[in-house]
């Protein structure tokens, strides 16, 4: 693997600080080339990671990443940046565990500090059935070698002192699933790091370029039409979120996907006090404190489908009520900003990855609320599929055909039981 063109380091920072030499560009702009080996639709973490691994792992560099806005402007820039692998099914755990492993070494590999903070991830249980589901998850996790355990309220308090673990609350905390390797990452940095590293290896990133058509002849993809010109390519990958059905429709591929807004919010900064990521499924909230001191919140997706990212008041109201049930001392903290991203929900809350009935048209979609966590591993697996022509074992269970064959992935089991 060839290194990025200019290495970032403390020494380089000092040198530039003293000499005022400008830093080189992180990535270049390109005219649209008429052909490519691979066209990737979507310049988020999935698309860019796929491009990066194509170049690095397989030497495929004639790759065009086409992004209708700016890179990382979709789900990659709107999520709450939580990373974990404590899923329910063995296939889910194996998959996300690989992602955590990739994240752990990503800063060094990309020479871009993505600030992966493995501060621990705690899912609170407020009733017997969620405690049971957590034990289920912990047991499956441990069998896969993933550090995950059920802890009692005293331990919850020790690890996360701001939480109210008394019985005086409406939904007392009965225990938690604690997952030490989980944490948060700087989401923009992941996008930029992949973009910079992919660019350095010859991948062409086209921002402000929208795909307006996908050319399919005789059941095989031939290329794409964009607002800046056509690109002929034997392989086209749909790495979009929020728009995955609309993009797939262009290729005549229907997806079992419904798009829901997922909202998030951030407070004004306060001094660090919350050491871990806190999640409560019963109260529909997750919260972490960034290195800047802000609390970042998220909740479940909106109650009805929409392509709107305008955000709602009911979301912040519900969020505040639930956060204050966990940490009543925070009532004076103020929500500074709220926003929304789009989540493509599938019937089994699992992604759709791999081949479609249209030859050469591949999908990496339907990520629901889990897309950001899976960026590196999805890119690695999709790159392998493209390069080798065979679906990697790690993602075999996430194929599109499972919905017609009746082989849904069992992550929904947890969702149904753990509500």
């Amino acid at each position: 693997m060839s290194p990025p063109r200019t290495r970032y380091s403390a020494l380089a920072l000092v040198r530039r600080g003293l000499t005022t030499t400008p830093w080189p560009r992180v990535w270049r702009s390109h005219e649209i080339a008429p052909t490519a080996d691979v066209v990737i639709i979507g310049g988020g973490v999935h698309g860019l990671a796929t491009a990066y691994y194509l170049a690095v792992n397989h030497g495929i560099t004639d790759v065009a990443v086409v992004e209708k806005g700016y890179i990382g402007g979709g789900g990659s820039g709107r999520n709450t940046a939580i990373i974990r692998s404590n899923y329910l099914t063995p296939e889910g755990v194996a998959f996300y565990d690989r992602s955590v492993k990739l994240y752990e070494r990503l800063a060094a590999e990309l020479n871009f500090n993505v600030m992966f903070s493995q501060r621990g991830h705690m899912t609170l249980a407020h009733n017997d059935s969620s405690l049971r589901t957590m034990r289920w998850r912990a047991e499956v996790n441990k069998l896969q070698g993933v550090d995950s355990e059920v802890i009692d309220p005293a331990e919850v308090k020790r690890i996360a002192p701001p939480l109210d673990v008394s019985n005086a609350t409406r939904y007392p905390i009965l225990g938690a699933l604690y997952h030490p390797p989980g944490g948060i990452v700087r989401h923009d940095a992941v996008v930029w790091g992949y973009a910079r590293a992919a660019d350095a290896r010859g991948v062409r990133i086209h921002q402000q370029t929208e795909v307006t058509g996908i050319d399919v002849v005789g059941g095989a993809v031939r290329g794409v039409t964009t607002t800046r010109g056509d690109i002929a390519a034997p392989t086209v990958v749909n790495c979009t979120a929020g728009w995955s059905t609309l993009v797939s429709d262009m290729a005549g591929v229907r997806l079992p996907v419904s798009t829901f807004p997922l909202q998030a919010a951030v407070t004004e900064p306060v001094r660090p006090f919350l050491p871990t990521v806190i999640v409560s499924g019963t109260l529909h909230v997750y919260v972490s404190q960034t290195d800047r001191g802000e609390l970042v919140f998220g909740a479940s997706v909106d109650p009805f489908t929409s392509y709107s990212t305008r955000g709602s008041l009911d979301f912040t109201e519900g969020l505040a009520a639930h956060v204050l049930q966990l940490m009543p001392q925070l009532s004076q903290l103020r929500v500074l900003r709220q926003w929304a991203g789009l989540c493509d929900m599938t019937p089994d809350f699992s992604p759709i990855m791999g081949v479609t009935p249209v030859q050469g048209f591949l999908v990496d979609v339907g990520w629901g609320t889990y897309g950001f966590k899976a960026g590196p591993v999805a890119g690695e697996a999709m790159a392998q599929l493209i390069a080798v022509g065979k679906t990697p074992e790690l993602i075999a269970g996430f194929d599109l055909a499972r919905f017609t064959d009746g082989r849904l992935v069992g992550e929904k089991g947890a969702a149904a039981v753990g509500h």
Binding site: Y8, E139, R170, Q207, E268, L333, V335
Partner: protein, 1157 residues
């Protein structure tokens, strides 16, 4: 300490009350201000010039705007972090501290960051701390220490929050001249108007103007006081959401710290004025560099001298006015640099504060105040939230509103420039136009459509004056004061490739601080535009997202409404010290101290459990069997009257959805039970079939879950016990066998029904008692069974018993993908039925052999209970199943389980390996049946002959009780135990649950509908009862008694033969409250989103909506000239609703009234 060193003599527009001193502390030192001072103005009057340290470089910061968006004075007040010190008023005893400084504001250790600032440019952290990776956590700890902001409290602070709903025709955001004029003009048309301003008084920028402006303010204020306008001051419109749903955060109220007002407005008028823009140049953040509006606020509102010697850099009239103000109050204005004639300033110099200003091509002037007036930012946040994108006008050097949706209008400075007269005129026209839009919907009737929007075209546009494009001078300076981002850093980010406004914003964090771009957005865009060789127009802005100003979590949460449901026996459980189990909204007794003993008692003698939360649906009509066949996997055509059957429901994907029993009480009358958590879902599922797929079927479904107190009497002596309290049902097994249902009078209570079923595996009777008598029957059974060894058991004992019997629990022993064959339900599934929900998937599942099976399991070591969710494994880590339920069986003295295993392990006798959470692997055996105890069912059938000998035990007289605890004095009225107190209070809440309630379903149109009341109305009947049309074809008659049979007979006479008419006594199904008094609507507006204005909800309105999160029947039923509302909800939510109404009424001195005429 010398006070008021910078305080001026009285100013004409000052807002301070010099007669009232306020004492507080600043960084531990005592300080003094006047009533009306902000924290910042009081400190500035005392000579304070440095209020905070900046976020990244810890540079000392003074006042810039001295207003709401001041970035330099975020302070900690008592336990509250990040208070806007230039807006918050001082209060006696306040403890105010600077943030982001250590050990002190004057000497801040981290100020050393300034020295290494050249290395800490934006995004430096992305480029370092990567090696060695194991040191990253240490780096991160250091980085986190630099987080800015105040300190979050560690214990809940003593603050209160609440919310209320409001409905307006026109909401005006901004109380300046245009906003005030808009509100007045709208109110003139008769519209309902709300006017909101963030300052404690109306007037906008006129407040710091001269005599002429002040005169206009007074005139407008007087007119508003005389008009019918709801004015909220010290209140900020924080968001505009879809549907013109507006959030207003209000402070300065007597009863709460902050209140969030949620307003549904037909039109929104946005009139926030303009925010003055800083100028970017070297040293522009030195204390002493201020904006012209900041200077004018300090001088004119607070009578504070901002400095002693000043330079003024002006490009507009406001800058000129600032210079005049300063000269007037004796500040030495040493130099005025006029940008309109090409003047410029190069840099500000000073250490810790401004000392001199270097002017372009001119002298360096010593001064301690530099005033800049370089232009405006239009705070278009609310317009952005409505989907409008602002448009840049280069000649005016600012953004203006773009195309607006029909229900949002803009006026005042945000819309353009003009004389005060022109601005007021524009406001007036805008207010009129906003009001005109709703002329058509004025009637307040639900179905009236809004008149066609008329557009903004009718409002004469304001002129836009030319203004020099002044963003950045010749030197680099701070663009974002909150985030410490300089123009140089932005240029550097662009050069690196972060070359769109969004990427540059994300990379440098410019505009992402507490002020959220109000001050810095335009400058950021301008700097990025210059760096990219583009212009402001093409570069565009970032999207302004809600909220407009930060909103506290407390206000967003308000009073937290978490509905709680309680059974009629709740008080008994609490008295017995039952351990509570929170199951959704229900609070249930988990156990009474010793669950295994409770379980053993059921096997040995008799136990009683409260199962009220079981979902119960009353099904009536000729097509009930068809419906049951459709939703259950089993067959229902031949269920005889008096029989009960267990049924399983699947969704269309074949996944087990719910289970329960359904009994046939009469030819066309069935009762279905569901799981507790499935009650609502099953009801809606059934309605979906009836309303959308099978509309031809005549079935009326009525939820009666909490109309009945349900209790299960289980154990070998249960028959003997029941014989003592039931005298109208023959209990011998030949006449009342297993899976049979009977109507019964229990402990003197008529209208009960009971069926023999066997969830626990014992002979048992599930008795359903009208809720008001639940506690009476419960205690009567306990009293009657004392010598039989009766003992209450909780949910945990029931779990043990059902597991011994091998009864699966949907949701625990099945999950979101479990299709029915996997759950060992083959015996129930009848694929030969024509159609039922999920049938195709079950057909295909049966043909496969690859699914996991639910089996009974017993560990070989009888003493080991594998925790639920333990995995069943093969080899080192292959998962081949899991334990879903496990307990130590008191009956067998060994551990027992249910669980799933892969098909090849499902054969009885197979040994499997269970991996315990600790890592130990234990062997377990697959059992031949799910049932561990009494697989043959002999115990629950209990068909041994019974002599029928009884010892009648007299019950206490049956007295009904409401779900709402009675307030003394109390007595028995008409068989109900009720409060008898008469309150003289003008606002009264009383429990009217004892009133009769008859539920009627009939065709929507026809004779019955005509006799009762139209939908949405409450009509007083000849007998004094009140017929309320709550829904289509659905009425509730509230009256003294509920003689169902009589009502039914009467209605049947009216109906034609083919029409289905259902009448159900819901007296025990619903709690009923009455809220009376002139403030009743105000109380309800805190917990109910419905518009209660008399125009929208006049007397005799009947509707169903949500109140405090509970579905509630609401009737406006005025009494004796007083406004009065009846509120009805499910029985189990009665106490919750009562408590919520009381809490909402606390600030209005609500009183509890007894039950009376």
């Amino acid at each position: 300490m010398t006070h008021d060193v910078m305080r001026l003599s009285a100013q004409p527009g000052e807002v301070i009350d010099r007669a009232r001193h306020v004492r507080f502390t600043w960084n531990g030192a005592p300080r003094r201000g006047f009533e009306g001072d902000t924290i910042a103005s009081a400190l500035a009057a005392d000579g304070v010039r440095v209020f905070s340290r900046s976020f990244k470089y810890h540079r000392p910061r003074g006042l810039l705007t001295a207003g709401f968006h001041e970035p330099g004075c975020m302070v900690q007040v008592d336990e509250e972090p990040n208070v806007r010190g230039a807006h918050r008023r001082v209060r006696d005893g306040m403890v105010v501290c600077a943030q982001n400084a250590w050990p002190s504001l004057r000497f801040d250790v981290k100020a050393a960051n300034q020295l290494v600032g050249r290395f800490l440019t934006s995004g430096f952290y992305y480029k370092t701390f990567m090696a060695p990776p194991q040191l990253w956590p240490a780096y991160e700890r250091v980085l986190r220490r630099f987080a800015a902001g105040g300190v979050a409290p560690t214990t809940p602070p003593d603050v209160t929050y609440d919310q209320r709903f409001a409905h307006t025709d026109v909401l005006v955001a901004g109380g300046g001249p245009a906003g005030m004029a808009a509100a007045l003009a709208a109110a003139d048309t008769g519209a309902r108007v709300m006017l909101v301003d963030e300052e404690p008084a109306l007037g906008g920028h006129l407040r710091w103007g001269g005599a002429a402006q002040l005169a206009v303010v007074h005139e407008l204020r007087n007119a508003i006081a005389a008009a019918d306008i709801e004015v909220l001051t010290d209140a900020v419109v924080t968001g505009r959401y879809d549907g013109n749903w507006i959030a207003v955060l209000q402070r300065g109220l007597p009863h709460v710290t902050e209140r969030l007002v949620k307003v549904r407005t037909r039109s929104l008028v946005v009139a926030p004025g303009l925010v003055e823009r800083p100028y970017v140049f070297a040293g522009n953040d030195l204390p002493g560099v201020m904006l012209s509006t900041g200077v004018r606020r300090l001088v004119n509102l607070y009578a504070v001298r901002p400095g002693t010697a000043a330079v003024v850099f002006t490009a507009n009239a406001d800058g000129d006015a600032a210079a005049e103000d300063l000269a007037r109050v004796g500040v030495d204005v040493r130099h005025v640099v006029d940008a309109r004639s090409g003047g410029d300033i190069v840099r500000a110099r000073g250490r810790g504060g401004l000392q001199a200003v270097e002017c372009a091509g001119g002298p360096t002037i010593e001064c301690d105040l530099l005033v800049t007036a370089t232009g405006w930012t239009a705070p278009t946040s609310l317009l952005n939230m409505a989907g409008a994108r602002p448009v840049y006008h280069p000649e005016a050097a600012r953004f203006l509103p773009g195309t607006l949706p029909d229900d949002v209008l803009a006026t005042g400075g945000i819309a353009g420039d003009g004389s005060l007269e022109q601005i007021v005129d524009h406001g007036r026209e805008t207010g009129r136009a906003a009001a005109r839009r709703l002329a058509g919907s004025r009637a307040g009737t639900a179905n009236a459509e809004a008149a066609a929007p008329e557009g903004n075209a009718q409002i004469p546009a304001l002129q836009v004056q030319r203004h020099p494009a002044l963003f950045k001078g010749t030197t680099d300076g701070f663009v974002d004061y909150s985030e410490d981002v300089t123009s140089k850093e932005l240029v550097g980010a662009v050069a690196e490739g972060y070359d769109s406004i969004e990427l540059a914003k994300r990379y440098t964090t410019a505009t992402m601080g507490p002020v959220q771009g109000k001050l810095e957005t335009v400058n950021t865009v301008a700097v990025v535009a210059e760096a990219t060789g583009s212009d402001v127009e093409r570069t565009g802005t970032t999207v302004w997202r809600p909220p407009y100003a930060p909103v506290s979590l407390g206000a967003l949460a308000g009073r937290i409404h978490e509905p709680v449901r309680r059974s009629p026996m709740h008080s008994w459980h609490a008295d017995q010290g039952a351990a509570p189990l929170i199951a959704g909204a229900w609070i249930r007794p988990d156990h009474y101290g010793d669950p295994p003993a409770e379980a053993r008692n059921v096997r040995d003698a008799v136990g009683i459990i409260d199962v009220t939360p079981l979902g119960k649906l009353d099904l009536r009509g000729p097509h009930v069997p068809e419906l049951l066949n459709q939703v259950y996997v089993n067959k229902w055509s031949k269920l005889a009257v008096g029989s009960v059957r267990y049924g399983v429901m699947c969704a269309e994907d074949g996944v087990v959805l719910d289970d329960g029993v359904t009994g046939r009480l009469d030819t066309d009358h069935y009762i279905m039970t569901t799981t507790s958590s499935g009650a609502l879902g099953v009801w809606e599922w059934i309605e979906n079939w009836l309303q959308t797929e099978r509309p031809g079927w005549q079935v009326h479904v009525t939820p009666v879950t909490t109309a009945y107190a349900s209790m299960n009497v289980a154990g070998p002596r249960s028959r003997e016990l029941l014989a003592r309290v039931v005298d109208d049902v023959a209990l011998d097994p030949a006449r009342f066998g297993y899976m049979r249902v009977r109507a019964a009078t229990v402990a003197g209570v008529a209208g009960c029904f009971m069926w023999r079923i066997g969830f626990t595996g014992e002979l048992s009777y599930e008795i359903h008692v009208p809720s008001g008598y639940g506690l009476h029957v419960w205690t009567s059974l306990l009293a009657a069974g004392r010598d039989l060894g009766i003992r209450a058991f909780g949910v945990e004992a029931q779990r043990i018993l059902r597991l011994e019997k091998g009864h699966a629990i949907v949701g625990q022993d099945t999950d979101g993908l479990t299709q029915a064959y996997g759950a060992d339900l083959a015996w129930a599934i009848k694929l030969d039925k024509d159609d039922f929900a999920g049938k195709p998937e079950l057909v295909w599942q049966r043909a496969r052999d690859d699914y996991e099976r639910l089996v009974g399991l017993q560990p070989v070591d009888a003493a080991v209970v594998p925790p639920e969710a333990s995995q069943i494994v093969e080899g080192t880590s292959t998962i081949v199943g899991r334990i879903t339920s496990s307990r130590m069986s008191p009956t067998l003295g060994r551990s027992i389980c249910l669980g799933y295993v892969a098909p090849h392990l499902a054969t009885p006798g197979t040994r499997v390996t269970v991996l315990l959470p600790g890592g130990v692997r234990i062997p377990a055996r697959v059992m031949p049946e799910l049932a561990h105890v009494d697989p043959g069912g002999l115990r629950l059938r209990a068909e041994h002959p019974w002599d029928g000998a009884t010892r009648a035990v007299p019950s206490a007289p049956a007295i009904a009780r409401s779900p709402i605890p009675v307030t003394e004095p109390a007595g028995v009225v008409d068989g109900w135990y009720v409060g008898t107190h008469r309150s003289p209070s003008p606002l009264r809440l009383s429990d009217r649950t004892a009133m009769g309630k008859t539920w009627i379903r009939a065709p929507r149109e026809g004779a019955i509908a005509a006799t009762l009341s139209p939908r949405g109305r409450a009509v007083r009947m000849a007998d004094g009862s009140l017929a309320c049309g709550f829904g289509p074809g659905e009425w509730m008659v509230l009256g003294p008694s509920a003689d169902v049979q009589q009502t039914l007979d009467r209605l049947r006479e009216l109906a034609t033969e083919s029409e289905l008419v259902t009448v159900i006594d819901q007296t025990h199904g619903r709690a009923l409250l009455r809220l009376t008094g002139d403030d009743a609507a105000l109380v309800l507006s805190k917990i109910c989103a419905i518009d209660l204005h008399p125009r929208a909800t006049p007397d005799a309105t009947a509707l169903r909506t949500q109140v405090a999160g509970v579905t509630t029947d609401l009737v406006r039923d005025d009494h004796g000239g007083e406004a009065s509302y009846l509120l009805g909800c499910e029985w189990s939510s009665g106490q919750y609703l009562f408590d919520e109404v009381l809490a909402a009424g606390a600030e209005f001195d609500i009183a509890v009234d007894g039950f009376g005429p």
